[in-house]
């Protein structure tokens, strides 16, 4: 009665409708008499004749063997089953085991057999005898409650899963299946079914209240010490922190996000007072709910990075967003922004923001978002910021991302003057090369925004630079294969600011499994022209990564030319050697230790550090 189709989209679409797998009324298939748990052919024939007009056989397949008497099957209430219905399980040797439905939900049920069956296994076929009157309404052109008629619209009737893109691809198939209405499973190859073949039964999505809450996160400790040949100069820090995400804590699909970190820094300098700082910082502490396929509205409160427009930053406040349709979403936020430095103090910068997002289709091949943020610093108007972002992600051809920050200045912004100004832009473009080669283009632009809030980050920048400085950057990164285990890598970059221009070039090779226990080797020649410095040199990086222990050895030789001098004292050679060992005693634990030495002229410095992270 049942079998399997191929895995093509049409078969799945048919399966969506057939996923109800109701053997739709009578069809000559009937209920059966059961005798002593094992049904005899004679008894079966007799009972078939008497019950033919009163019961309907609903075919099923065992999906899970719970014990020797109990098995889960892939049919449930939406297929017309009820607790107590008689069931038959067809053994591989031709015998039949009888039982009754012990429990069920929409898409599955548990059969309790009358006796233990040693060779009960997943994949066995069976039938449930269902009183015909339960389907009587279908004869009249109506269907029993919960019976699917449209694979696309009936909750849980699709086997396409969560993949929105797949869902879009299969939409035509679903529509076609929907036009056919309820169909009977007619499979021609049932005898060839084996356990490793997929079921094509429809499955309903698990609701948040049916899903157990869980916690994921990490705990990390990082310590770093820098020791120099300069007596009394050093730099040390310790960082400890944890990220915890409580998924679905209250059974409604919400998320509690926490991230806290403790930092200690000490900077010793002989010519000035030492600096020492300890910070305990709560970076995230928020609760968000919604924004799922069950709820188009999303609410977040607490301290969080704005999800709708992350460019607007971390917020101590409230955010709301709505997916209005497949194509449109919008949202708004209100609250205080913590200062963007290690202290993360809040309460000075208040903001209101709103955004709108358009997507081309369910797969979001193209998307554009525009947002506006108005902020106040200590109660005074500070920044009017527009952020526009977009991406273009076709299956083939060039893909690209772009983000644009535009500050709107008023006449009160004396350093800038009234009017809009692009303060930052970031554009990247990459062709789809099927990994036959790599090619990335990047353009970046920056001006200093004139804001009270960003004074924290621009404290040392002179006003005239805030007013007039601009930096353009353009770079090309790429690689091409030489052999299967060898490829050439390269990069070229250009920059231009209001004072000068320059750039860099890198050219090298990457080899995989080149020799001995080295997994990756990379050698690069480089040349760069900075604002005050020219440099050329070479780098070699060797990496060996095992399941438990990995090693990385890096060496750089560089010749620097400081352009401010006009004698030979402006050239110097700098060498750096770094060794890193990463130990993973367990999949969830990583311990990394590194030693980084730098030698230049008569000075040198060594950095030693460790980074440990436990994820769960």
């Amino acid at each position: 009665m049942r079998g399997r189709k191929g895995n093509d989209g049409r078969a799945r679409a048919v399966a969506c409708v057939g996923g109800a797998t109701i053997v739709w009324l009578a069809l000559g298939s009937t209920g059966h008499a059961l005798v002593d748990g094992v049904e005899s052919g004679e008894a079966r024939a007799s009972q078939d004749a008497s019950d033919e007009a009163t019961t309907v056989a609903v075919g099923f397949r065992v999906t899970t063997v719970l014990d020797e008497r109990r098995a889960r099957i892939d049919r449930g209430s939406t297929d017309g089953l009820e607790v107590g219905d008689a069931a038959l399980v067809f053994r591989p040797d031709g015998g039949r085991e009888r039982g009754r439905l012990e429990s069920l939900d929409e898409r599955s049920a548990v059969v309790l057999l009358e006796r233990r069956v040693g060779d009960l296994r997943a994949g066995l076929r069976g039938e449930v005898s269902v009183p015909a009157e339960r389907f009587a309404s279908a004869d009249d052109g109506t269907q029993p409650e919960g019976t699917p008629t449209d694979g696309a619209d009936v909750d849980g009737a699709s086997a396409d899963g969560a993949d929105g893109a797949d869902g879009a691809d299969d939409a035509g198939g679903r529509d076609e299946a929907a036009e056919r209405g309820p169909s009977i499973w007619e499979y021609e190859d049932d005898d060839g079914f084996t356990e490793d073949m997929p079921l094509l039964a429809g499955m309903r999505p698990v609701r948040p209240d049916e899903r157990a809450p869980f916690v994921v996160g990490r705990v990390f400790v990082a310590a770093d010490g820098r020791f120099t040949s300069d007596d009394g100069r050093g730099d040390h820090f310790v960082r400890m922190g944890t990220d915890l995400a409580f998924e679905n804590p209250f059974g409604n699909g919400g998320l509690i996000d926490t991230r806290v970190e403790w930092d200690f820094r000490r900077f010793e300098r002989p010519e000035l007072d030492d600096l020492e700082d300890t910070e305990f910082r709560v970076e995230r502490l928020s609760y968000a709910i919604g924004g799922t396929r069950f709820d188009r509205d999303r609410f977040a409160g607490g301290r969080f990075l704005q999800q709708g427009a992350p460019e607007f930053g971390v917020l101590d406040g409230f955010e709301w967003s709505r997916s209005a349709s497949e194509f449109h979403a919008f949202g708004a936020s209100v609250g205080f922004m913590p200062e963007p430095d290690a202290e993360y103090e809040s309460g000075e910068d208040f903001q209101l923001a709103g955004w709108y997002r358009w997507t081309s289709d369910a797969s979001e091949q193209a998307a554009v978002r525009v947002g506006f943020q108005k902020s106040w610093h200590d109660g005074a108007a500070d920044r009017d910021l527009i952020v526009a972002t977009g991406h273009w992600l076709p299956r083939r051809g060039w893909s690209g991302h772009a983000t644009l920050w535009i500050d709107l200045y008023s006449s009160g912004d004396e350093l800038k003057g009234a009017g809009p100004e692009i303060t930052r832009a970031y554009l990247t473009a990459t062709p789809d090369t099927a990994r036959s080669y790599g090619f990335d283009l990047t353009y970046a632009f920056q001006r200093y925004p004139f804001t009270e809030r960003d004074d924290v980050l621009q404290a040392g920048v002179e006003p005239e630079r805030i007013a007039g400085e601009r930096i353009h950057r353009f770079s090309v990164d790429g690689w091409v294969p030489w052999r299967e285990d060898l490829r050439a890598v390269g990069r070229a970059g250009l920059w231009n600011d209001s004072d000068a221009d320059g750039g860099d070039v890198e050219l090298g090779v990457e080899a995989y499994d080149p020799w001995w226990r080295i997994d990756d080797a990379r050698a690069v020649l480089f040349l760069a022209e900075g604002e005050f410095t020219n440099v050329w040199g070479a780098r070699v990086d060797l990496a060996s990564g095992g399941n438990e222990v990995g090693y990385d050895l890096f060496y750089e030789f560089a010749n620097y030319d400081q352009r401010g001098f006009d004698d030979d004292n402006d050239d110097f050679v700098q060498q750096r050697l770094r060794a890193t060992v990463t130990w993973r005693p367990r999949r969830d634990l990583s311990i990394e230790a590194y030693l980084d030495g730098t030698i230049f002229n008569a000075e040198n410095g060594v950095t030693a550090g460790v980074f440990t992270q436990w994820t769960f």
């Binding site: 895995n7 063997v65 296994r121 994949g123 849980g156 009737a157 396409d160 899963g161 969560a162 993949d163 929105g164 797949d166 869902g167 356990e195 997929p198 999505p205 948040p208 994921v216 730099d235 820090f237 995400a245 010519e271 910082r281 396929r293 069950f294 990075l305 460019e311 930053g313 997916s323 209005a324 349709s325 497949e326 194509f327 963007p340 209101l352 709108y356 369910a362 979001e364 506006f372 108007a381 930052r424 200093y448 404290a459 040392g460 920048v461 002179e462 400085e469 920059w495 860099d504 410095t533 440099v535 780098r539 890096f554 560089a558 401010g564 402006d570 990583s590 230049f600 980074f611 994820t615």
Partner: protein, 225 residues
């Protein structure tokens, strides 16, 4: 009442852009709430089945599931993501819980095409672009090799700068803010300039062109005379 109206006018006059955005937001909300039919169609329908597509999975559910519900996986559950889906899970992703990516918040394929930002929040707030793996690995997410990476900027790190902690210059480093800095010396060394008394730099007007006398190869006084 007049005072209230005047105050309202002043708010509108002084915050036109903000008021416009708020008005637009209110308008969009109102439109959305009015379109009762349209709002019923969410882009990712609740009826699309489980968050992990099961249509190619083996028939024997007990290979992966255990217990009386569908949410508990067997302790020895294993899934070759690369072989089964064509998408290898690298680094920490290999040990991550399935539901961290396959969840009700969106379609994984769409997220994956957006890159890291599809699932991970961008702590750099968009200011460093979308190619996270230029700096981060997928195992610990710790950024490495930043000293050599800096040679691509206007300010290659040499001498003492190459062994100085990032946060000494990048004030927002601890919270992911690596906005490009001003490369002028005084931007970071203003304290040193203020205390330079032998000779008195301010008295001589030596506040610019530090590299006429100083090199970055020493922590001590100027060299090269």
């Amino acid at each position: 009442m007049d005072v209230l109206i005047e105050a309202l006018r002043r708010v509108v006059r002084e915050n036109r852009a903000a008021v416009a955005v708020m008005a637009l937001s209110a308008f969009l909300c109102a439109c959305a709430l009015q379109r009762t039919g349209g709002l019923e169609v969410h882009r990712w329908r609740a009826g699309l089945g489980p968050v992990v597509p099961h249509d190619t999975f083996p028939a024997d559910c007990s290979l992966c599931h255990q217990g009386g519900d569908w949410n508990t996986l067997r302790p020895d559950f294993a899934f070759d993501h690369a072989a089964e889906t064509g998408v290898p899970l690298e680094g920490a992703h290999d040990a991550a819980q399935c539901l961290r990516c396959h969840n009700d918040r969106g379609a994984v394929q769409v997220f994956a095409e957006r890159g890291c930002a599809g699932c991970h929040e961008d702590v750099h707030q968009g200011q460093l672009g979308s190619r996270c793996d230029d700096c981060h690995d997928q195992l610990t997410w710790r950024a490495g090799g930043m000293v050599e990476w800096h040679s691509r900027t206007r300010f290659p790190l040499n001498g003492v700068h190459a062994i100085t902690s990032c946060a000494r210059c990048h004030e927002g480093a601890d919270v992911g803010r690596f906005a490009p800095l001003d490369v002028e010396c005084a931007s970071c060394h203003y304290d040193n300039l203020l205390t330079a008394q032998n000779p008195d730099h301010f008295a001589f007007g030596w506040t610019n062109n530090c590299d006429d006398c100083h090199v970055p190869t020493t922590w001590q006084q100027a060299q090269g005379f």
